[in-house]
């Protein structure tokens, strides 16, 4: 089925575009809008957005693939985003990732079969002072270690962490 923006989305998009001197400047805010609506930015959505903003498709795709905060596929209930940049890396992010991989049985970019967890390694989350950091959906969990991570996973499995 071809992708179509809702009238509501189009109206919102026009409002957002009007905030900028150039129409194509609204690319990132609109990608956020799309992700808010569907949980991810669909391939066909990129085509439609490019058309809406008068941009080449490749430009939209380049931006979506550059930023790790845009999901290109539906994600699980909890999207675990482990920072892999230098401060977190030195503070043990690699170990956290390995632990998550083995505990959840998935690699980065994959979702568990029960649809509960999606694991991602992301770029700097801007919280180097409390490295290593993991963002779960919109929330930060800082100064993590193996024990904290295990406890957090348990809480999430039992629905004790708010989405």
């Amino acid at each position: 089925m071809p992708f179509k923006f809702t009238e509501d989305f189009k109206a919102r998009a026009e409002k957002i575009c009007a905030k900028y001197p150039r129409r194509d400047a609204a690319l990132i805010p609109l990608l956020h809008e799309m992700q808010k609506e569907a949980g991810y930015v669909a391939e066909e959505g990129m085509d439609a957005l490019a058309l809406l903003l008068g941009l080449p498709y490749s430009r939209v795709k380049a931006v979506v693939t550059f930023y790790t905060m845009f999901n290109r596929e539906p994600v699980g209930k909890y999207h675990l985003q482990v920072c892999r940049n230098i401060s977190c890396h030195m503070a043990g992010a690699e170990g956290l990732l390995t632990r998550l991989r083995s505990r959840l049985g998935i690699a980065e970019g994959e979702t568990t079969k029960d649809g509960l967890f999606t694991l991602s390694a992301v770029e700097c989350l801007g919280a180097c002072g409390s490295a290593p950091v993991m963002q779960v959906n919109e929330k930060y969990f800082e100064n993590l270690n193996d024990e904290k991570l295990d406890a957090l996973l348990e809480d999430m499995k039992h629905g004790r962490v708010q989405r």
Binding site: P56, Y57, S58, R59, K61, T65, F66, Y67, T68, E123
Partner: protein, 493 residues
């Protein structure tokens, strides 16, 4: 007009000139990957770093504007160290598959490594980032992302020259790679230029891949005859085989070359090439074919029923020879060198509205030798006054319906079988302009001569020589011993 000093030499440049261009003016070469004179400045490869007095860090020569009193050093120890380091970075993930890479021999990485680095890598071979290799993108190109150094010349070419913007750098950091829309082909009519401007082996031409090592190739500058634009090109050839043609950038006509023009050389040595005569549909040797043609011309000649048609696809020399044949040997006034042509760049880049390369040259022949108008020729054909028409194949194609309707016998000169119009009575082969010199006048009025990179197949002669023989069969001599002889009497201005 700022004056600056580069390596101790003062140079005055226009305001807005970059250090790299200023250095070029002095003949000082600064290495570069991402800089291209006809594309926007990106400044991402860092290969052109130079030392500028009073600047705290090295500056990229391609993106720094030359300023009054600037003192630039391009070969200091600091600059040398920077180049070595940039190359080390670029080569961290390079697959080093030079033995199987078509770019080897004309590769920016190889050349600069020899010139500026010669250092051993400190990174382990097995830690290299692997990416997709040998991915055919479109009908003309193969992309190898492992070899790519992300200079974005291809991205900028598609965005700025063809304005199709198919390509982009996708992903980020270590994951960055050149990509385009899944399932789409990279085919914008100019795509092979990407293989030219790619400074490494990431983009290679599907046509040229694995055909020849570049160091075996000899280079001959000549012109493209794909349309009236008449781009300057360089034919790369070895042992009488042309392997590719590339643009020869010049300020007058072209920086790039369209895919159609670039692959036009293939017709010359493909299976479609005509190397023998054709009578009706049967191939026969050149000499008997020529005798047959001469006999048919002789039959009609007495009644004044032979017509000769010039062609905008032929050189001035060959057209002039045809005019002389009609005027001096056949002694007929039924010859026409009159072609209407609408010229001008069609797509805003290079492709001309006029698909024939020499309409302007043909006009010079007409000025020198006269002849009847095309309308007049058509009416004489329609009136049944013409029994035999002698013409070049593509020009004959334009009037073939009129000839068929009038039952006129058509004799053509063709270099390729595909050009021969249906219901042609006889065809004679001639040497293409990759095999014989010819003068052409492009849409701008620039007169240019082809330089043949190859020799014609055995027994195939230039068209003026065939015409010379035909004249001899008709009992008169045109005394054409060279292409230059045919040019006599034509005012080339």
């Amino acid at each position: 007009m700022p004056t600056l000093t580069i390596d101790g030499k003062p140079v005055e440049v226009e305001k807005g000139t970059s250090i790299l261009e200023a250095a070029q003016k002095l003949g000082v070469y600064i290495p570069r990957y991402c800089y291209h004179p006809k594309l926007s400045v990106s400044g991402n490869c860092r290969m052109c770093l130079v030392e500028v007095e009073k600047a705290p860090k090295l500056l990229t020569a391609c993106s720094t504007e030359a300023a009054e009193g600037m003192v630039v050093r391009t070969v200091s120890d600091k600059v040398k160290a920077a180049r070595r380091d940039v190359l080390e970075y670029l080569l961290i993930n390079h697959p080093l598959d030079c033995p199987i890479c078509d770019q080897a021999g004309e590769c920016g990485l190889q050349n600069y490594y020899m010139d500026y680095s010669l250092a051993k890598s400190r990174f382990k071979n097995e830690d290299k980032v692997r990416r997709q290799k040998r991915r055919a993108l479109g009908p003309h190109l193969v992309l190898d992302n492992e070899r790519c150094i992300l200079c974005t010349r291809c991205v900028r070419f598609c965005a700025e020259v063809t304005k199709t913007a198919e390509l982009e750098v996708m992903g980020r950091g270590d994951h960055s790679h050149i990509d385009m829309k899944e399932g789409k082909a990279l085919d914008n009519g100019y795509s092979l230029n990407i293989a030219d401007i790619c400074p490494v082996g990431a983009w290679t031409s599907r046509d040229f891949r694995f055909k020849q090592r570049v160091w075996f190739l000899k280079k001959t500058p000549t012109i493209c005859l794909g349309c009236a634009t008449g781009c300057l090109i360089e034919a790369h050839h070895n042992e009488n085989t042309i392997y590719r043609t590339v643009p020869l950038p010049n300020p007058e006509t072209n920086t790039w070359l369209c895919d159609h023009g670039r692959l036009a050389y293939k017709a010359v040595q493909g299976g479609d090439r005509l190397v023998k005569g054709v009578i009706k549909n049967g191939l026969i040797d050149f000499e008997p074919a020529l005798r047959e043609v001469a006999a048919r011309i002789d039959e009609a000649r007495g009644a004044g029923a032979v017509a000769v048609l010039g062609s905008p696809w032929l050189s001035i020399e060959d057209n002039a020879a045809l005019a002389r044949l009609a005027k001096d040997a056949l002694k007929t006034e039924n010859y026409c060198f009159d072609f209407a042509s609408e010229q001008g760049i069609k797509d805003g880049i290079l492709i001309n509205k006029d698909p024939s390369p020499n309409a302007n040259g043909l006009r010079l022949v007409k000025d020198a030798h006269g002849g009847i108008s095309q309308a007049e020729l058509s009416s004489r054909i329609a009136a049944g006054q013409i029994k035999v028409v002698l013409a070049e194949a593509r020009a004959a194609g334009l009037i073939k319906d009129a000839l068929k309707a009038a039952g006129t016998r058509l004799i053509v000169f063709a270099a390729n079988k595909g050009e021969i119009p249906a219901a042609t009575y006889a065809t004679l082969p001639y040497a293409s302009y990759f095999e014989t010199p010819g003068t052409f006048v492009n849409y701008q009025g620039l007169r240019r001569r082809t330089t043949p990179p190859a020799e014609a197949p055995e027994g195939v002669k230039p068209l003026w020589a065939v015409v010379n023989k035909l004249a001899a069969y008709s009992g008169s001599s045109l005394r054409l011993d060279s292409a230059e002889d045919a040019l006599k009497g034509i005012d080339l201005k």
